[in-house]
Amino acid sequence: MVGAPGGATRPAGGGGVGRARRGGGGRVLWGAPGGGRPADPAAAVWRALGEVLDPELPVSVADLGLVYGVRVDGDRVHVRLTFTATACPCMDFIEEDVRDRLLAEPWIAGVEIEQVWDPPWTSARITPAGRRALRGAGVSA
């Protein structure tokens, strides 16, 4: 498992926040997939997750602190994902977006998403970049 939010192995900045701030929205803001297998597959996964926006807020799931870990086994990716609430109405959409964004990378053949609730998500898990993005949208965090 690589990098809990804020961990040393996680790419700084969360990747897609700048895009989110500029445009809002979701899939239309995804970057172009990379080519072959990257030198640091886990970092590439984190970057891709930085482009997957929360459906209700212009901030990525990575910067919201919803991604608790990423593991890459060959061409398969395992993502440990939590949600802001146990009955988050967007769970299905978020999982679908995570899966589709990662599968857009030609080197990824399979994505497994594990829902986790420990430790419970709180707003303390939002990254500094995520807080800036939320403030830009008029949301205090």
């Binding site: 009955a87 609730w117 420990d118 430790p119 419970p120």
Partner: protein, 259 residues
């Protein structure tokens, strides 16, 4: 510890405990949603929508634990007849008025949270991992319910009487169903899975003393098991109303089912 590490007898009791908690959460969510419109204020009605959403999510996480026991949670959530539900009996019918909604928040939701606290402190790993998030979400329910109790307590005699009338039977039923003091509860506490019933009931009495103090009544917090107690369902005889179960199962939306 996982479910497989317990004796068959304990495992069976644990499965029944989870189903009782999950079904009560689900029916409580339904009963909150009944009052989305018609509360004394629009804002209070909208609050029941949020609480309903939380209860639904908590129920789903609890049902998912049943996978550890080889049970298909989808089948459990969407296919059981009303007579198989293990929810607290006080939720079988809609709350009669807003006083009953407030009683439901403080008494039923409060007792559920206390039962969950004991479960989360026990030896079952899945409960230890999942329940803290539920309890964090429940903090708002508690604050909202207690604020309403204070408001009603400081109001008219009629309001206090209606609230007290709602609290007494609901509290007896919630304690009986959610903190039962029977042989099976002893088995679970003995296995380190829950708090002993007596200790949990004492804690509940202490916790409810202040919010209920303004009602001029001291409800009994140590009710005996009723004569029609069904241990396999952890509740007295009866079942939730059919329309509530149809909504809980999503009967009219099977063609749109996505799970």
């Amino acid at each position: 510890m996982s479910a497989g590490t317990f004796s068959p007898e304990v495992r069976e009791a644990l499965q029944r405990l989870i189903l009782s908690l999950a079904d009560t959460k689900r029916m409580l969510g339904i009963r909150y949603s009944d009052w989305l419109l018609g509360a004394p204020s629009i804002e209070s009605g909208i609050a029941t929508a949020s609480m309903s959403q939380d209860e639904w999510g908590h129920a789903r996480l609890l049902y998912a634990m049943l996978k550890d026991f080889g049970v298909d949670p989808v089948e459990i959530e969407h296919s059981r007849p009303p007579g198989a539900y293990c929810s607290a009996a006080c939720l079988d019918e809609p709350f009669a008025d807003w006083a009953a909604v407030v009683a439901g928040i403080v008494v039923v939701d409060g007792t559920l949270s206390l039962a969950l606290e004991g479960f989360a402190s026990g030896a079952y790993d899945a409960a230890r991992r999942r329940i803290p998030k539920m309890l964090a979400e429940e903090a708002f329910h508690r604050d909202f319910g207690h604020a309403w109790i204070r408001r009603i307590s400081a109001g008219t005699d009629e309001g206090r009487e209606r609230l007290a009338a709602a609290v007494e039977p609901m509290l007896a039923d919630a304690i009986t169903c959610l903190l039962p003091d029977d042989e099976e509860a002893g088995l679970l506490a003995g296995a380190g899975l829950t708090a002993p019933a007596r200790a949990a009931r004492t804690r509940l009495a202490r916790r409810l003393a202040e919010p209920l103090s303004g009602l001029g009544t001291a409800p009994a917090t140590d009710p005996p098991l009723p004569a029609d107690w069904i241990s396999s369902r952890r509740r007295p005889a009866g079942e939730p109303a059919g329309d509530a179960v149809e909504r809980a199962r999503g009967d009219r939306n099977r063609a749109l089912f996505v799970e």
